[in-house]
Subunit: 347 residues, 4 copies
Amino acid sequence: MIKVGIIGSTGYAGAEIVRILLNHPEAEVIWYGSKSYVDQKYADIYKNFFELIEDKCLDDNIDKLSEQADVIFTATPQGYLAGILNRDILSRCKVVDLSADYRIKDVKVYEHWYGIEHKSPDLIADAVYGLCEINRDKIKETSLVANPGCYTTCSILAAYPLVKEGLIDTDTLIFDAKSGTSGAGRSAKTANLFCEVNESIKAYGVANHRHTPEIEEQLSYAAGKDVMVSFTPHLVPMNRGILVTAYASLKDKNISADEIAKAYEKYFKDEYFIRLLGHGVPPETRWVEGSNFVDIGFKVDERTGRVVMMSALDNIVKGAAGQAVQNMNIMFGLDERAGLNLLPVFP
Amino acid sequence: MIKVGIIGSTGYAGAEIVRILLNHPEAEVIWYGSKSYVDQKYADIYKNFFELIEDKCLDDNIDKLSEQADVIFTATPQGYLAGILNRDILSRCKVVDLSADYRIKDVKVYEHWYGIEHKSPDLIADAVYGLCEINRDKIKETSLVANPGCYTTCSILAAYPLVKEGLIDTDTLIFDAKSGTSGAGRSAKTANLFCEVNESIKAYGVANHRHTPEIEEQLSYAAGKDVMVSFTPHLVPMNRGILVTAYASLKDKNISADEIAKAYEKYFKDEYFIRLLGHGVPPETRWVEGSNFVDIGFKVDERTGRVVMMSALDNIVKGAAGQAVQNMNIMFGLDERAGLNLLPVFP
Amino acid sequence: MIKVGIIGSTGYAGAEIVRILLNHPEAEVIWYGSKSYVDQKYADIYKNFFELIEDKCLDDNIDKLSEQADVIFTATPQGYLAGILNRDILSRCKVVDLSADYRIKDVKVYEHWYGIEHKSPDLIADAVYGLCEINRDKIKETSLVANPGCYTTCSILAAYPLVKEGLIDTDTLIFDAKSGTSGAGRSAKTANLFCEVNESIKAYGVANHRHTPEIEEQLSYAAGKDVMVSFTPHLVPMNRGILVTAYASLKDKNISADEIAKAYEKYFKDEYFIRLLGHGVPPETRWVEGSNFVDIGFKVDERTGRVVMMSALDNIVKGAAGQAVQNMNIMFGLDERAGLNLLPVFP
Amino acid sequence: MIKVGIIGSTGYAGAEIVRILLNHPEAEVIWYGSKSYVDQKYADIYKNFFELIEDKCLDDNIDKLSEQADVIFTATPQGYLAGILNRDILSRCKVVDLSADYRIKDVKVYEHWYGIEHKSPDLIADAVYGLCEINRDKIKETSLVANPGCYTTCSILAAYPLVKEGLIDTDTLIFDAKSGTSGAGRSAKTANLFCEVNESIKAYGVANHRHTPEIEEQLSYAAGKDVMVSFTPHLVPMNRGILVTAYASLKDKNISADEIAKAYEKYFKDEYFIRLLGHGVPPETRWVEGSNFVDIGFKVDERTGRVVMMSALDNIVKGAAGQAVQNMNIMFGLDERAGLNLLPVFP
């Protein structure tokens, strides 16, 4: 059994890693790291695990943990891991980081958007961006995976094939994203109270959300040139789910729905966790909730010469914990789907 | 007292007209028209009106009604009013139509998008598009108002000043809209059941929603040339509210947030029902819920050279019943705010 | 105009007093008291009031306030008002207290259930329990009203006529109450985050909720003997609304639904804010949301010899701010409905 | 592999059986029966199963199905199965009926509460009431299981040990139950539309809900005498979950919380799917959502001499499909937990 430690196990993403690994055939959690709940029973914090987990929360001593674990998941605030990670730790165990610390190759871009100094810039080059369906081969070789953001996973996958195939004008790319509230985390903030979120929708982080440079970097690789996009996240009164509606002008007005469909199929046809709905079928977050699936649909708008790309995923699963476990599976040479046979729960 | 008849009073928009007029100082409902509930007590269908309304539902005989009423509101399916309205009726009383029948000047455009034949195309020219803040003067003179759609009110108002002032490239206009579920109406459809809508978000009518030509026509007037836009509506798990996030490239990258703000102020500064939040302040539907306000904010994105225009309203009030009453007030020379001192209800 | 000061104006109940008074014909808020937001614009905290209120928050100096105001509403934590109120203040202005400090006549009972020492027990006798429909005459005479709790208003009104008329065995009284989340207040607590409350229901304060002695005291007056009840509150994933389902054995199995109905009518028939739905009609919170109405229905269960009493109200309106304004109206000899022509908002 | 047919596979309960069996190690669905969707792809109706199920819906020919299947689940309207089932079918395959047709032993009681004639009363004696934790041994021997109702499972399990041990006065038993909206099914009814259910709570079926006699019959067996109870269901704006709050007077005021706890442990200590939270810990539906667990807590109220029993389950899992599969597992001698390692999904 692969021994797993989680630093930040008491946030929503950490708890979802726990949920997934409880049914994983080849991995087990040996360290429930926490900052706020040390010595408390994990199942007292997440009572869904009552009688299923007897462990207490441990601290977040990554050095000690790295001597016991085969892999560490870090679901920690931005900058935290960058401040404590080093090659010693990475020589002892693998790390899947759910924060943004190693996602962006250009440390200046990171420091600009996140407004903090990066404490271990030398490790950035070691990290592989863990978008499994795109970087699978590199993930196999690394001991440090930068697990992608929730919005970014959903956004990049929606546009990747069309960017890669040069079917759209990347100068016109706009991502309008909508997220359930679990993406805001479990810390006590007035803005995230039930009565503040319920029965309302709003945009936030307009033109300056931190997932923007992450989307741009990955799509730039795909395009083979610099890509700059508009990205607007919205908060939706539901627990889980991200929906991305993306817009771009077709390179050529004569590009058909069929050509678009073929581009998606070229890259994703054999991907188990990506489900291609085809032309004119909008995805809905309810159909992926609780699972590691990403549903992608699109619509060619002949009037305007644009294509509308749409994708849906569960922000805590494929957008965080599920993809993290998928990365672990790849890193350890396991079946990529191990532990991830999570069927979407509806209603 | 102005005598009001409502055809289609038992839908959500009709019921909201009732709610507003119950507290209107100079109007009273004399005819609760219905197709499905004739002879039933209105307060048995909408029990919020228990002990407040004793009337029973009447049929939808518009001829008879027009002899008794000073104004008729029609909240009826597309094509219905066009099939029964005539100049006789309009000579006897005013009509505010909440359906789309007289919104679009070019009957071919109407017939193309709605897929039905227009039965009274000669009346279209008589109708005034009832976007009060734009067409106030014309509304005063007409006896037939085409009350704007919910999405269109929200979309047009967000972009109107910038289009009118030529600050944005109208070829790049994209409206990404999100609506609460009351917009889907009260008829029994599986797709609108609680468990189907709750905990999910989806796009629908992608690239072919009927509000598109309505937005385009009005913005074309503002632009002084043909405008074609992308419009994508989404269904959000909340009762009320529409949020529009609109994108366009600035005509000139040097256009400042200040110039944008001034354009909004030029047209809307003195409009009571339009609240300008200013640069960088995204509107939220919760702050307008239950009221006739439209909140508008924007953000200039210097990186991409785009401006993000954002607007929020209550789809049943300013998006339907509230604007209808506002139109009535204008048509009858009343204080435009009469009966509309509805404060936003939060939480 | 009556000059109103609010201490605790930035909680949900305080904000609802503001909403109501903005449309009140004979009262105006002159003091938006706050602990946390002094000097901030009130409309920055509650953006529904953008452009409607220009005032900034003031502190909670009740002495200074009492020299300027005709009436003070206190929506403050338990024990706060008891620590600062005195007869000097009450000689200058009237006070409507939305906390529990003066609701319970026996100070020992208060101190037992609330676990705090009462700092001004001598004032308790001056206070009138502000359940308007029951204590209207006393309210007219007092300058200190103890505004009832949300659960208690709903519970007492459901049972009062049957207790008063001796139709039920008070030893068997059980109140099972369900509340929307606004009752939990606006302070930032993890337990009240959207994702914690949404898609769940739970009981809390089982057998020890502080509203229990308040219900018992009032029903004891009605019964003319000591009444002890079971009271269980539940948290429901909705913003507003309380539903009480109460159970009691009929004194005599032959008591008919008609007799029960007559008892309700005897006490409440002419009460504008109480709507009697009659036998077999369960109230629903949606029909009272946003209004000051209490809807009451009941069902006689001949099999078990019990009557099920059911009542619904909006916890922030009739359960707090609405009743507080109703009390103010009574204290100042105004029309009891002034400012309270709030129609239920649906959907 | 056990071959499974489902009649009524396109309702919510049917779809949940499908979800569970997709991951069941020893069973597979061979027949997706439907009345409304014959010949349509199952995954077109429930798009969460896109790319996971390729089958089309078949009709509901139980004779033909019984020749191919080892077990049939029927999730059909009341009276349907009673009209078509016979001993021939039962000789060929096992049946787990999720309707109420064989739950109640006294056919007159069934006909009284359901208002329909029972077409196969002779089969009632063959049926075993499939409350697994109570009737496990009998379930092993039968070929016809009457799968309990959602409310009844939750209600009976909360009270069973205390009734069985004679700790409570069964004449005082009251069940106040709250259910998510999936319990209302998937058929298109105005009352179940999103906007009608959202932001509201109501009681329904007061004193005459059909689950009442089912609860009474089972608790009568436990008590060894006739038990009559009050049962009130409520509709809650959430997808899944039932919470039962039950009240009863203790037989003796000196009965301690410890004695109550021991009674629960005596019967349920070793039951995997029943989690005993202990004294003073109220269950919450969010902690069982998506799983087959029932969480039970209680509180002794020494003041009133009552015990409050509380239980929570997922109405579609332990309240329907999960228990149905649990019954299948028992009938076929499999591990009772096979396919039911569903961890509660939170948030």
